[in-house]
Each structure stands twice: as C-alpha cells, then as structure tokens.
C-alpha cells in the first residue's frame, strides 16, 4: 500500500514521511500528492504571524485546545528559519505545544524555511494538503518570526492573525506597509504589559487609516501565558470566516491559491528539465573572467548560454 492510502487511514507515520519527501524535493512525492489531491482543499487554514517572541506558539497552543473542544481534527505547521550559512535549524515551536503531542486528533509538524523567502517554507502549500488528507478540518500555519515584509502566509491562509506585543515601535512603525496590511485579525498579546494602551492606539489608528473593503480587522487583547482572551480571539476568527464565506472572498481566495500552486508546479517542472543543462561552476567561472576583463557583459553571456545549451 502506498503512502496515500495509509494517510487516508489516518496513519501518522505515512503522513510524516510524505511531508519529508515534499520538503526534500523527493521525486516520489508527486505520485502520492496526485493521489491525495481529490481529498484535499476543504480544511480551514488559519495563519498565525508576528514578530519573534510575540507569542505565536503560545497562542497556537491555546487555539489547538479550543478547536479540539469543538471536535475538530487539528493540524499545525510551525515554520522556523534555516541558517543561511549551514542550512541547519533549531525548530523550537513544539516546546509550547507539547501537551498536545499524544492527542491522536492533533498533528504538529515543525518545518525549517530552507531559505524560502516570505516567512513560510516552499513545502507549506503541499504540506497543508497532506494534513487535510490525514483528516484535519483545520490547519494552523505558524510563520517564522517576521519583520515587516513576510506576507506569504496571507496568500495561503483563509484568515491571517497578526500577533503583536507592546513595545514594538511607535505610530510610524504601525503605519508602514507590509505585515500590518495582511492582518484579518490582530491579537495584541502580552496585554498586561505597561504600554499596552500606547500599542493599541497605534494599531487602531493604522486600522482606521487603511480601510480594506468592508472588513475592519478587529483588535483582540490576549495574555497567552495565562490563557486570557483566547475565546475572544476565536470569536473574531469565526466572524472573519463568516464574512469571507458570505461574500465570496473565500471561494475567490481558494481559486487564486490553486492558480498560484499550479504556476509553482509548472515552474518546478521546467526547472527540473533545465537544471541538468546549466553550465558547470567551472564554465561559469571562465565566463566571469571574460566579463571582468571587459570582453563581455553578463546579459550577452546569459543569452548565449540560454540559446545554446538550455533552449536550443
């Protein structure tokens, strides 16, 4: 029996192996993905993003409990950064979620970003499908700790929660473009800290200045360490879900997501086809020498190589 059939039978080891194949770019993954595809696409995808240390994992842990109490099978993809120097990573998000480790209705997978930009991992989109095929009705996607520009999660998730904490800068920070624009719900965590009012007013001002259609992202105060505010946070997520289900945004989002994914698969196929035909490092170095001596320019050289070796 292949992995796909086992995954349909809720086999954890089969699902975890397919997740590894996807991450490693193993050629065996595509057949299994093709087989699971018809049983995917139905889960609600919840993105959790925010700066390092804002409380993403602790809030995720609380949301797992809440959705489990509603009877949902819950998947979690927790992404942490890879080292740009060694490729290694320490994936520590599980520390906050380990009380769910033995729950058969929860699948938590730590993922390294493996140099993929945008706060997720290249494997995230397909990893979600594996968790759906395993039975998850809800998948939480926790991004790496983000700065200002990592917005990819909002393309994948149905609802994106931005987790903020007090002390993260003044009102000018709050009106910059980027992550504050992708929030459907804002969780202002560590709401027991002294300058919470300051942070709240800066965020409120941003929300007032940036009307995005009819949905105004609610600001929910949480104290994740003490479990405070999680019901309210889930309520805000529910409200956003009803809103996007009601006005067709969710269907449109799923369509766009599938289009992005199709494009990515095509790009990967093309890359597989040409990667064996790229010039060796040695060849490239000799061409670089020509360029440095002023005998050629990089645009002409690239065009020559592409015309001769890659797409003859």
């Amino acid at each position: 029996m292949g992995l796909a059939q086992k995954i349909f039978a809720h086999d954890t080891r089969a699902a975890s192996r397919l997740l590894s194949w996807i991450e490693d770019g193993d050629s065996r993954a595509s057949g299994e993905l093709r087989e699971i595809f018809p049983r995917t696409g139905a889960a609600y995808l919840l993105g959790i993003t925010g700066a390092p240390g804002a409380g993403k994992s602790t809030l995720t842990d609380l949301l797992i409990s809440l959705y489990r109490s509603r009877g949902l099978i819950v998947g979690v993809l927790a992404v942490d950064p890879s080292s740009p120097f060694t490729g290694g990573a320490v994936l520590g998000d599980r520390v906050r979620m380990q009380r769910h480790a033995t729950d058969a209705g929860v699948f938590i997978r730590s993922m390294a970003s493996r140099s993929w930009p945008g706060g997720l991992s290249r494997a995230a989109t397909e990893a979600v499908r594996v968790l759906e095929a395993w039975g998850c009705g809800l998948v939480i996607i926790e991004t790496v700790g983000v700065g200002q520009n990592e917005v990819e999660v909002s393309r994948l998730a149905c609802t994106t929660v931005l987790v903020c904490a007090p002390g993260a800068g003044d009102r000018v920070q709050a009106i910059k473009a980027g992550v504050t624009e992708i929030a459907d719900v804002i969780a202002l965590n560590k709401a027991d800290l002294a300058d919470v009012e300051h942070a709240a007013s800066a965020l409120e001002m941003t929300l007032a200045l940036h009307p995005r259609g009819e949905w105004r992202p609610p600001l929910v105060r949480t104290i994740a360490r003490d479990g405070m505010g999680v019901e309210e946070l889930a309520g805000a997520i529910d409200a956003h879900r009803r809103f996007i289900e009601g006005n067709g945004t969710l269907a449109e989002k799923k369509r766009e997501g599938l289009k992005d994914h199709l494009k990515e698969i095509i790009r990967r196929k093309l890359h597989e086809r040409i990667s064996g035909r790229l010039p060796s490092d040695g060849e490239l170095r000799s061409r670089v020498a020509e360029i440095q001596q002023g005998l050629a320019d990089p645009y002409t050289v690239a065009e020559e190589i592409a015309a001769k070796e890659i797409m003859p």
Binding site: T12, R13, D26, Q98, A101, T102, F107, A112
Partner: protein, 130 residues
C-alpha cells in the same frame, strides 16, 4: 536531491537542566541538521509521538535526574511500537558507566557523557544515518 537530517532532542524526566541539550541542538544546527527541540519534562509518550510526526532520523535523549534506566528504554519501546524502529536513539546526561551496557542492550545506540566533544556526536549521527 539530498535528504536533510532531522533530529529530535528531548529531555525525558523531571530535571530542568537543559544546558547540555541546548548545546547539542546548537552543534547539530551548525552541522547543517534540522533539530526539533521539545523542551524539558517530557514523557516518553510525548517524545515518541513527536519523533513520528516529525519524521526524524535520530532522537537524542538528555537526562540528568537519574531516571534514564527506566525512561530511555521506554522511548525505544514506544518508537518500535509506532513503526519507528529505524530511528537512531542516543543519550546523554549524567549516566553512570555501569548503566551503559544495559541501555545499549535496550536499544540505545550510544551514550555521550559530560566532556564529550560535540563534533563526536555530529560524526556519530552522520555515520549512523547515512
């Protein structure tokens, strides 16, 4: 295509001394591995479940409470039960010399005591899982 080595570093038992585990996690990261760290005070059940969901090639157990003789073999047994019998398991912490043969017999591949060079652990994993 290369398969990235994923390793779970876990602390079974009730001691809170995680410095050794964190030093090892960091060393493995520097060697290009992906290290899943689950924190202190983990039950063997939590460790085995995490190892299977994370599809790791190796599990490193650190224990300084003296309960290794019970806890380490329990992790081995649970992993075998869950179909993870191909996962390499090694240990460290405060483990008396005389306990090591029994642990190895129970399926712990190697024990790394205080004073071990981290490069020895890296080499051991690279050699064992490839």
């Amino acid at each position: 295509m290369s398969r990235t080595i994923r390793v779970l570093i876990a602390k079974p038992g009730l001691d809170g001394h995680d410095r050794g585990a964190i030093v090892v996690a960091h060393a493995l990261r520097e060697a290009g591995m992906e290290v899943i760290y689950t924190g202190i005070r983990q039950t063997p059940e939590q460790i085995a479940h995490a190892a299977v969901q994370e599809d790791v090639r190796a599990v490193g157990l650190s224990c300084l409470s003296g309960a290794h003789a019970k806890l380490f073999p329990k992790v081995v047994a649970l992993l075998r039960e869950k179909g993870g019998d191909d996962i390499l398991i090694f240990g460290g912490g405060i483990i008396p010399e005389e306990d090591i043969p029994a642990l190895k017999k129970a399926g712990i591949a190697e024990i790394f005591g205080p004073g071990t060079r981290t490069s020895a652990i890296v080499e051991f994993i690279q050699k064992s899982v490839c």
